[in-house]
Symmetry: C2
Subunit: 242 residues, 2 copies
DNA sequence: TCAAGTTGTCTATGATACTAGACAACTTGA
DNA sequence: TCAAGTTGTCTAGTATCATAGACAACTTGA
C-alpha cells in the first residue's frame, strides 16, 4: 500500500495502521500485557514501510495504549466502559457500577432560543427562551463524553447556575421539584470528533465519536430536557438490553 | 490552521473541512437543496486556504453529497436511513418502511470453530463447530451494513447454502422450523472502517462506522445466532425507543 | 449591458508523509 | 559468550498536502 496507488482518503497511512492495531487490541486479538508482532512483521501485514509502522506505534505509545521496549518488543496496555442504555440511565450509577469514579463539570451555560427542531423536541414554540448547558463527564479523570443540554428557561430559571453547583442533571432537576424522570426516544449515530470536542475529550483529531440525541421526560411523558451528547468511541461501549 | 501548528493527527486538513461540512448537512444546518457558503467564506471559517476547501468540496461532490455549479454556488443533496432498535428488528421491514428497496447478498460462508467468546454467546462449548456467514445489506443499491453471523453447524447444517439461496436471515431460520425470534443483548460502539469493509460498503478509508454486536434468541430465550455488524455511519441513524 | 460574486484552472513554494537502506543499541535464549 | 531478533536513529529521494496569487469562465441581479 503506497500513497501512489491508494485512492487518497485524506487519512495518513500510519494512522490506518495505528487504528488497525488499536482495533486488534479492542476486540481481543491482543490482550493487555501481550507482545505485539515485530515492527517488520506488522509492516509486512499492512504492506507499508517499517518507518510507517514506527510512526503508528509512536502515536499509540503517546496515548498510553502500547509501550515499546528496546531490544525486546512492543507491549499492550488498555480497556472500555460498558454503558447500558435503559429508560433510566444515570451516568454516575453506570460509572460507579464499573468500580470507577464518576465526575461531572459544567463547561459553559448560556441563553438561547428554540429552533423549530428543539421546540418540537421539547414541546415548546419556536423561539421560546432556552438554557443551553455544555458539560463534560469523566470516569477516573478520563473524559467519556461532552453533551449539550437544552431546557426551557421559563420552566427552569437559572438552570445553568444550579447545574454548575450540583454538577448533576438529576440533582438539578430535583431542585425544581422533579423527583424522577425517564428516557424518551434516543437516536444514535457515529461521526468524527471536531476540534472543540477533541480538546475537551482529550482526543486526537479524526477519532470516531458516538453521537447520541435524547430527550428526558417526566413521569407523565412531558419533555423536560433534550441533549446532544458526543462520546469518545474508544472509551465506551453502549449496551442495549432487551 | 496550518500543518505546522496542528499537532498532526494523521488526518488531512481538507478531510477535516469535508467532515465539518458533512456534519453540517447531517444535523440540518444545511438542508437538501440549500446553497453552501462560498468557497472563500468556508475558507475563512475553517481558516484554511481556498484550495483546501476546494479539495474538500471535490471529495464531497465525488460521493454525491454536494454539487458545484460554476458561477453560482455549491448545493447540497443528501439523507439518512432511520433504523429503529427494537426486540424485533428485520432489515427488510425497516428499509421498506422508509419507502426504499431492501437487498441482501451473501459474500462468503465458511466453517469455523467457537472461540470462548462465541461459545458463551451462543451457549455452546469452546471449539464447537460453527457456520460463519459474511453478508451485506443494501437500501436502493446503497450499501448500509456488512455483518458476520455465526451459528451452530450442528443445529443448522448447511446454513450458508440456505442463506445464499433465501438472501434473508428470517427465511433461513424458517427453513429450520424457527417461526419467530427476538433480539437479545445488543452492544453498540463506533470505529473506523477497515480496508475490507471499506470496499464492501463503498466507503472511503477512515470513515466512521457503527459496530453492533447482537445475539438473536428463540422465544424461549435460547441463543440462535450471534452477529457482528458494521454500519456506514453516514447512511444510518439508530433509534432507541423507550 | 455591466459589475459583483461565484466556481474552474494555472503556476509556484515549502512542509509532511512514505519509502528505502544502513547501522547502532539493546534483549533474549542457546 | 554469542548469534538472532528486537527497537532506535540516521540519510536520502519521491509524492502529497497546504499555502499563495493571478486570472479565466460563468451566473446573477441591478
Amino acid at each position: 500500500m503506497s500513497m501512489q496507488d491508494t485512492a487518497s482518503s485524506g487519512v495518513a497511512l500510519w494512522r490506518l495502521v495505528a487504528d488497525g492495531i488499536e482495533r486488534g487490541i479492542a476486540d481481543g486479538r491482543f490482550a493487555a500485557g501481550d507482545k505485539l508482532p515485530g515492527e517488520m512483521e506488522i509492516a509486512e501485514t499492512y504492506r507499508v514501510n517499517r518507518h510507517t509502522v514506527r510512526r503508528a506505534l509512536a502515536a499509540l505509545a503517546e496515548r498510553g495504549i502500547v509501550r515499546a521496549e528496546r531490544g525486546s518488543g512492543t507491549y499492550v496496555e488498555a480497556q472500555k466502559l460498558a454503558y447500558p442504555l435503559r429508560s433510566r440511565t444515570r451516568f454516575s450509577e453506570i460509572v460507579g457500577a464499573e468500580g470507577r469514579e464518576p465526575h461531572g463539570r459544567m463547561i459553559e451555560a448560556s441563553e438561547d432560543v428554540a429552533t423549530r427542531e428543539l421546540a418540537r423536541e421539547l414541546g415548546l414554540k419556536t423561539g421560546a427562551p432556552l438554557v443551553r448547558i455544555e458539560a463534560i463527564r469523566l470516569a477516573d479523570r478520563t473524559p467519556i463524553c461532552v453533551s449539550t443540554t437544552w431546557l426551557s428557561a421559563e420552566l427552569f430559571p437559572g438552570a445553568g447556575t444550579v447545574f454548575a453547583a450540583t454538577r448533576s442533571m438529576t440533582k438539578m432537576l430535583e431542585h425544581y421539584g422533579i423527583r424522577d424522570y425517564r428516557r424518551g426516544a434516543t437516536r444514535i449515530t457515529a461521526g468524527i470528533v471536531d476540534a472543540t470536542d477533541a480538546a475537551r475529550l482529550d482526543l486526537p483529531l479524526g477519532r470516531p465519536i458516538l453521537v447520541v440525541d435524547a430527550t428526558d421526560l417526566d413521569l407523565e411523558g412531558k419533555p423536560l430536557v433534550t441533549k446532544h451528547s458526543r462520546f469518545a468511541a474508544e472509551r465506551v461501549e453502549f449496551l442495549v438490553e432487551p
